[in-house]
């Protein structure tokens, strides 16, 4: 019997078209556009200017303050310009444009394929290396890893949880990484355990990836304290709090963080990036991206340099299908729709999903029949229909009391609603308004 979190959750069609497609290297493009903010926190500040020559792996923008992240060049070449772009989240931000010349890496990176298991760095050195290498959480939120690893005084971490759930339909980048790079990931987990000073790491993987469970279990058996756990397939199990509940049966209390329970969660792709940073001295400028969609001729998984426009990925997968109606950066449940194919791949891009036009439209909104299916699938046991109604009517105080800001926007309520009501859209409106009102109140 596989474990899972108890209440709520859905099981959308898995559609993992690329689960057995080996990871290929996408050729380096002619130009890259590297945004200076690919993480949660303050944007990095560019260290280069127009005309400068940079090497692959060179620091080109420095993180500002503690909660921020360094940005490295993913290619070698000349800086063309530093300009404003609209990124995959739809916001304007600065980006560094580089015209590629060859592929000359900085010397400090160990480019051999040898797997180094012995960890020479001390705990503070590991955290410093993560910060220098611009490591961020690669499951989606892109939270700087060195912040997560620096345990504030008075708090203790005793369990490390590694997220290999990948519960979004379509996406397989973590899946393939676990199959092909298990040794590296497990070494990355050991590094994280050393950094956090914990003896116990639990790796959660959903049961629809038996090959990944097998590879990871085999590698984990070589290291003390790491256990691999198969989980029942259920969305949103990859959400931090739901994964903790599934693996440890502990509930992160309302308004608290996993660390308050002595738990830190990291994604498998992050563990891989940390392995490369610590053992190979390679900064984060490349990641696995799944390019997929029902109409694509050749969907697959690729190692992609950050800043690569997604059109390169689409071309590698057989070109943009005629019927494409929507392009999603991320999975279909929580990903962001992008409006053009020039959007660059960033540290948090796990996949690109091309949706045919007939699936890209929303159906007509009908009256709520009060079937309560939204409440029954809510993994936070909340009442989405009510939060929507309160946000629709602008009743912000009651929306706040209903716990609207706890919602993590997994979208299960909108997915399941038989009347096609835009529940999550209104919850987002309510969340942002309530948060704004809270900030104003605190400012007084």
């Amino acid at each position: 019997m596989f474990k899972t979190f108890p209440s709520g959750g859905i099981h959308p069609p898995e559609l993992k078209l690329t689960g057995s497609a080996p990871i290929l290297y996408l050729p380096v493009p002619e130009t890259v556009t590297i945004p200076v903010s690919q993480h949660i926190g303050a944007p990095a500040v560019p260290l280069v200017s127009k005309g400068d020559y940079v090497k692959t792996g060179q620091l080109i923008a420095a993180g500002q303050g503690f909660v921020s992240s360094n940005i490295h060049s993913s290619v070698s070449g000349k800086i063309n310009k530093i300009d404003t772009i609209i990124d995959s989240t739809g916001y304007r931000q600065s980006a560094i444009f580089i015209d590629v010349e060859g592929d000359e890496w900085i010397d400090s990176i160990d480019r051999s394929s040898e797997i180094i298991r012995e960890i020479k760095l001390t705990t503070p050195e590991i955290i410093k290396r993560c910060q220098e290498s611009g490591i961020v959480g690669m499951g989606g939120a892109a939270f700087p890893s060195h912040v997560k690893l620096a345990i504030p005084s008075g708090k203790n971490c005793n369990i490390l949880i590694i997220n290999g759930v990948e519960c979004e339909p379509f996406l397989t980048s973590d899946h393939r990484l676990m199959v092909e790079k298990a040794a590296e990931i497990i070494t990355g987990v050991s590094i994280l355990m050393k950094a956090l000073n914990v003896d116990n790491a639990m790796i959660g993987i959903e049961a629809n990836k038996p090959d990944a469970i097998a590879c990871m279990t085999e590698e984990a058996s070589l290291v003390r304290g790491i256990s691999v756990h198969g989980l029942k397939v259920k969305y949103p199990q990859g959400a931090e709090k739901q994964l903790i509940k599934a693996l440890t049966n502990k509930e992160v209390p309302h308004g608290k963080l996993p660390l308050d329970l002595g738990i830190v969660v990291q994604n498998v792709a992050t563990a891989f990036a940390i392995y490369e940073a610590v053992q190979k001295n390679k900064p984060l400028f490349e990641r696995v991206v799944t390019i997929t969609g029902k109409s694509l001729t050749n969907p697959g998984n690729y190692f992609v340099r950050t800043g690569t426009p997604i059109v390169r990925l689409i071309d590698a997968a057989g070109g943009l299908p005629e019927d494409t109606g929507k392009i999603i950066s991320g999975g279909p449940m929580m990903g962001k729709a992008v409006n053009n194919t020039g959007v660059p791949v960033v540290k948090g891009t796990s996949g690109i999903v091309l949706v045919p036009l007939e699936d890209a439209k929303r159906e007509t909104i009908k009256p709520c029949i009060r079937c309560a299916k939204c409440s029954s699938v809510c993994s936070f046991n909340q009442e989405p229909y009510l939060m929507m109604a309160l946000a629709e009517r602008g009743l912000w105080e009651r929306a706040e009391a209903s716990g609207i800001t706890d919602c993590m926007e997994c979208g299960s309520c909108s997915y399941v609603c038989p009347a096609n009501r835009p529940i999550l859209d209104y919850i987002r409106l309510g969340k942002s308004t309530v948060n704004k009102l809270k900030r104003e109140r605190n400012a007084k």
């Binding site: 859905i10 959308p12 739809g90 509940k245 509930e251 992160v252 209390p253 309302h254 608290k256 943009l320 494409t324 109606g325 929507k326 999603i328 991320g330 279909p332 449940m333 990903g335 962001k336 729709a337 992008v338 409006n339 194919t341 020039g342 999903v353 949706v355 036009l357 699936d359 890209a360 439209k361 929303r362 159906e363 009908k366 009256p367 029949i369 009060r370 079937c371 309560a372 299916k373 409440s375 993994s379 936070f380 046991n381 909340q382 009442e383 229909y385 706890d406 926007e409 979208g411 299960s412 909108s414 997915y415 399941v416 609603c417 038989p418 009347a419 096609n420 999550l424 859209d425 987002r428």
Partner: protein, 333 residues
């Protein structure tokens, strides 16, 4: 860029469920009971059902089209469900004009005046049924006895429902042992071979529908099980305390439309609570009120009234009975 792409917030995919599908599922779950009523009461059952469905859908169309002047939504199937449920609560030989009046009350007064689907506080079919019960007491309580399949309306052979037999008998001082001999055996009642509203008689057909609804996840077990459980426990206590004057729990469960009410009427999405805790309280309330009305009230059966009374509490229950949220701290002591 030659292509224009759709932009919308997540999620970018939708599940297979739609309102129309859910309503079709309910209609399918009602088919066994419809077949049973045709089997017992003949084509009269079909005439009543067809009249009720056609007039419910028709009134919804007319009101939306000509009075509200809004888009017509009869294809969602909710009026069909109301029509079938109203028919199931009527005797199988009810004059057609009375059925049409019932449909007008159900759709026009109980549903559309409140704003249509999703906004009505009371179950439309039950409002229609109770309106008819009060307005046409004789026609509404003249039950044809099941005589096997036959065509046309049955005129001659009518009789009281088992509940009415017991209620009248006890009022007239007859002993329960004698009365129990006048009513059909438990097996006959389970199969539906007794007088009553056309859709309520065959327990087995209703239970098949229940299984289908659960299997298709259209409803959850909470409301039906808590209603039936409460009736069983309450009547069980009465029966054990004085078997001479109170009927046994099984009799109460198989008669008077309790199963029809518990499975199909009380579980109506719009008029029932929206979380499991409130659903159980709602179900227990219906069970308690049903027994109180049956045993001590003026009417022999009380399911309709019990559901309508509890319908009135649903908004309050949704407001004050809340599920335990994830990560909510459990209060100590």
């Amino acid at each position: 860029m030659s292509n224009l792409f759709n932009i919308s917030p997540s999620p970018h995919t939708h599940g297979p469920e739609t309102t129309d599908k859910l309503m079709r599922g309910v209609v399918l779950a009602l088919i066994p009971a419809l077949l049973a009523s045709v089997f017992y009461f003949g084509t009269g059952a079909l005439i009543v059902t067809a009249t009720s469905v056609i007039s419910c859908v028709g009134f919804e169309y007319l009101i939306q089209r000509f009075i509200l002047k809004k888009p017509v939504s009869i294809t969602d199937g909710s009026a069909v469900v109301t029509g079938i449920l109203l028919a199931f609560n009527l005797p199988s030989n009810l004059p057609v004009f009375i059925i049409i009046i019932g449909s007008l009350v159900a759709i026009g007064i109980a549903k559309m005046t409140f704003g249509g689907l999703g906004n009505n506080p009371f179950n439309p079919a039950l409002v229609g049924r109770v309106f008819l019960l009060i307005s046409f007491p004789v026609q509404m309580t003249t039950w044809p006895l099941p005589k096997g399949f036959q065509t046309g309306y049955i005129d001659a052979l009518t009789g009281a429902t088992p509940l009415a037999v017991i209620k009248e008998g006890i009022k007239n001082g007859e002993s329960l042992v004698n009365l129990m001999e006048k009513i059909p055996s438990t097996l006959r009642m389970f199969l539906g071979n007794m007088g009553g509203s056309m859709g309520e008689v065959a327990a087995i057909a209703l239970l098949i529908g229940f299984a289908y609804l659960l299997f298709k996840k259209i409803i959850t077990w909470h409301i039906p099980v808590s209603i039936i459980g409460t009736v069983a426990v309450f009547t069980g206590i009465l029966w054990l305390s004085n078997p001479g004057s109170f009927a046994d729990p099984l009799f109460h469960i198989l008669t008077g439309g309790l199963l029809l009410g518990a499975i199909f009427m009380a579980t109506d999405y719009v008029t029932s609570p929206m979380n499991p805790k409130a659903m159980i309280i709602y179900g227990c309330g219906i069970g308690l009120l049903t027994v109180v009305i049956r045993v001590w009230g003026a009417y022999p059966e009380g399911v309709s009234f019990a559901i309508l009374i509890m319908n009135a509490f649903v908004p309050l229950m949704n407001l004050y009975i809340k599920p335990k949220r994830f990560g909510e701290e459990i209060k100590n002591g």
